[in-house]
Assembly symmetry: C4
Homo-oligomer: 313 residues x 4
């Protein structure tokens, strides 16, 4: 499957861009133009993605706006149509209409103020219906946000290039980064792909961006309950073979990382992406160990040290 | 996988139809007969698929109908059973019953009018329960419509047949169409299949419809954040090899397109379909470039120009 | 994938059963024993699977029972604690308590009757919370039932054994059944598997049940918008080769059918199962055509004739 | 696929742990350190996973706390702002404020007590909104818990090592455990993987933990409606070949079991895990039969006897 979807979809034109292709938070560094706002806008997508702070402002703002509107309608119908209104000035009366509206919109309906006559009753019947439907959207979104499966992967701040033990006793050199699951929910069948994009001489003094999928020592894990150091072995088949830190910087290299996993709690497939630019790669450093066996024989992982690396000689 | 499901399910009889097989909006051009309305009707499917305008009419209509009904029941029970009714004429009294019903159905329950006696109380207890359940359906549908994953793919208005650079330096000719994601949500692991259906001579002067799955330069992309020009190379193995515009028209050719992708926001698989008839294929034209690098080095895509193509000599 | 999951899980013991293995509605003909009711009971599964009629009885019954209970509690607390009660006899007072309970449980809260004092207020606070949570479950189930993806496949009443045109011009004989989608929603990537289970002589006068997966002319369709006649070619490699109607009956043959598809509206994978016993297989009959081209060139399918078959000579 | 995700993700360090790797309930025996509580905490995951008893305490506690808070605010605003309050002492008045708050929070709104004036009305408008949103979360979680797909697999208490009939007439020895579906919902396409982890001599007197995926007679079943005895044949290619009970104990062996299935009712993929330590493996015992044919020819399974095994000579 991984092989099937090799093409990352950047095309040849995007390959000419000088800017980072993938931001550290996994979003694509692309500008979309030419569509009117509403053509490309997905209300659900927007409201599910914004911050909690923005979401609360939206909810509260809509609530106030709806009641200001319906309150105005009741005021225009006339305060005779609302039994229980006892404000003297127009402003006081509008405020009472506003509060009556909130009681109708939320269906709390205390009844101290209540509609009299056909017009006020009709508006009030419509408002309570609107209120129920509006709160259904709001609460659906609230719960959708709360229960949405999002993989919170911690990526090590830097990638490193260092020797490692290849398993067969021979020392190899590898490009490595380290990841861990920030949340305590279980991620299953996690797969990683690593793609290098850099400038290459294509003859005639021209340099264009080229993509290389880099082989990994291990492409997938059945469970992801500890940290995982993803390793690309820099052997003679690797485009990184013999490349120095200076050459990497000069080539404007970027390492694109894509993770795919199954979230056990949500029963859904989740994705996570990030990239390392050349200046975020540290040569001749290796990651410090963060997994050890506690006194009681239980395996421990120190997640706060996931970024730590040290010089190797 | 793509290979496994090659059969598009049209069968031999459907192959005799002269009409378009797939409409431009992706629905099948088929008439289903012989089932009673309720056997093939799926209420959920209907209410989730109709336009927003129709949906609002349904919701409002049901709301009015339910309250007209329950209002009638209260009226028949007698207005003595509703404390607070002060209408004089039967019509006024019915209207008050109607509005009391709306207050019960939405559970706003102001209480200015309130049920007295067993009969009115029983009906009111049933109505508030019915109201809660009805609004649950309505709001579930509302949220379902709002949060439903739908791939909004823009397909180029025409497909083109034009030379292109085959990557190995040799010019080839290809059948091409261009697609882009209209929404700003992320589509992942997108796959395309392209099937040609046209009339072929099968000997003895008879012509029948034949299906050909057309090979693609690239069947899938890992990410679909830019536009994608899907290309079928017209080489000697292609049924389109040497076919002229006139022959294509005469064969009543139709190109069926199926897209499958994973929607990152909704964590679900989505499908999109369309077709191009022979008269929607333009020969010796190629698509104009719509991806370029902005001044700040960021990749830009002009989605309003996705349909643009130009003559090649 | 189909190959991977070949084992239907009946085991050798189940193979000794004389009864049908799979009922026509797709459920397994198996009796589960030895677990207490609550160990194997899944409330959600039960309430989502029962008929609409049973579901309504459950909802209404629970609603009445809850209010009878809470009404009783209010009655025990004393009718002094409920302002607005004016019943004279204990029974009248209990009924008023009951109706007050319904107004609290549904949060309609007219207020003509209202709690006074700590005890009645506490119970009422708990009841309105309980009511909201109970209705959440009820409405969740209601919507879950309404929006649940269920493949409604029409299976032809009989399977037939008849000659057919094998595509290469040679007449073959096949075991066939016909299916169609009853609903108007779209099923995609449909796969069928057909397994024969019958008694075979295993030497020494003993006969045991044996399973054979039968090859299909076509195992899957990309789209399932018309009817599909699933065909097992009875050639020399088929266990049915040369088998007569009488032999089939004597062997207590059962044909197990499993369908898997992706529902486009619900974005979910759905399954359907059924079986044909030997007496539901008709020899030397073929299905009548139900797909034709209408006057306007559009393909038509007559779903009411899906069961129709006719003798072939 | 099974092959692709062979690496269980324990790494080399975890292999040094002396404690059990997987608990019997399927959770990983791992201690996560170094993250602040809120970084790794997922509210949804927590509230969906805790016991029903804990969940009820949370819901009720939050309900009381919210109303204690809002009740306090109304009390501070002053009881003049609530029409209908008739408590004399401050405590009585606070209690009335508290109960008014519950009527607002649940939107029952009897109206016997009702807000008067801008401040109380504003707080009440906010509270009814907060109440609706809070109950939306609570009821979402309630329904989420109720409808969450969880595979309830019964694993036999012990695994056994015993001879069995290999199908080809030759007696073989196998490592076996038995599973059944506790619930009556249907599990489809169930797959099992079995991994042995034990201490091995690696030369120089050192012993380290090694992982071995053990071959299974049958890796998957299409349906899982009866019990399934999963069998690893101990032939010459098995690491268990010739291993005695004493050697198994001395090696601190642990058998890790992973099940994956598709739940037909919930249309979702579910996982289940467990492990057997060496002391939970019984040699020279076999499982007693629990499937038989009833008098009416229907297959019966006795789920209470799933753990039963007996000595074989």
């Amino acid at each position: 499957m991984a092989r099937q979807f090799q093409d990352l979809g950047f095309g040849t034109k995007a390959a000419e861009a000088q800017a980072r292709l993938l931001n550290r938070d996994g979003s694509f560094n692309i500008r979309r133009k030419g569509l009117a706002f509403f053509e490309s806008f997905s209300g659900y997508h927007y409201l599910i993605s914004i911050s909690w702070w923005q979401f609360c402002v939206w909810i509260l703002g809509t609530y106030v706006a709806m009641n200001a509107l319906f309150g105005g309608v009741y005021y225009l119908i006339g305060t005779n149509s609302l039994a229980g209104i006892d404000g003297q000035t127009p402003f006081e009366q509008y405020i009472e209409c506003f509060f009556f509206s909130t009681q109708t919109f939320t269906t709390v309906g205390f009844g101290r103020v209540a509609p009299v006559g056909n017009l006020a009753n009709t508006v009030s019947a419509l408002e309570s219906m609107t209120g129920l439907l509006s709160f259904a959207l709001a609460t659906g979104l609230l719960y959708g946000r709360f229960s949405r499966p999002v993989a919170r992967i911690i990526f090590s701040r830097h990638a490193v290039v260092a020797p490692y033990n290849g398993g067969d006793g021979n020392a190899k050199t590898g490009f490595m980064f380290r990841i861990a699951n920030q949340r305590s929910n279980q991620l299953i069948e996690i797969e990683a792909t690593l793609t290098l994009v850099w400038l290459e001489d294509v003859g005639g003094g021209r340099r264009t961006r080229q993509f290389h999928e880099l082989e990994l020592e291990r492409k997938s894990l059945k469970f992801f309950h500890l940290s995982w150091t993803v390793v690309h072995p820099i052997d003679s088949t690797s485009p990184l073979f013999g490349v120095t830190k200076e050459q990497l910087d000069a080539s404007e290299a970027e390492f694109l990382i894509i993770l795919k996993a199954f979230d056990d709690t949500f029963s859904q497939t989740v994705y996570s992406r990030t990239s390392y630019k050349a200046h975020e790669v540290v040569f001749d450093h290796k990651f410090k160990g963060i997994i050890r066996t506690g006194k009681d024989g239980v395996t421990e992982i120190e997640l706060d040290k996931i970024h730590d690396h040290e010089r190797v000689s």
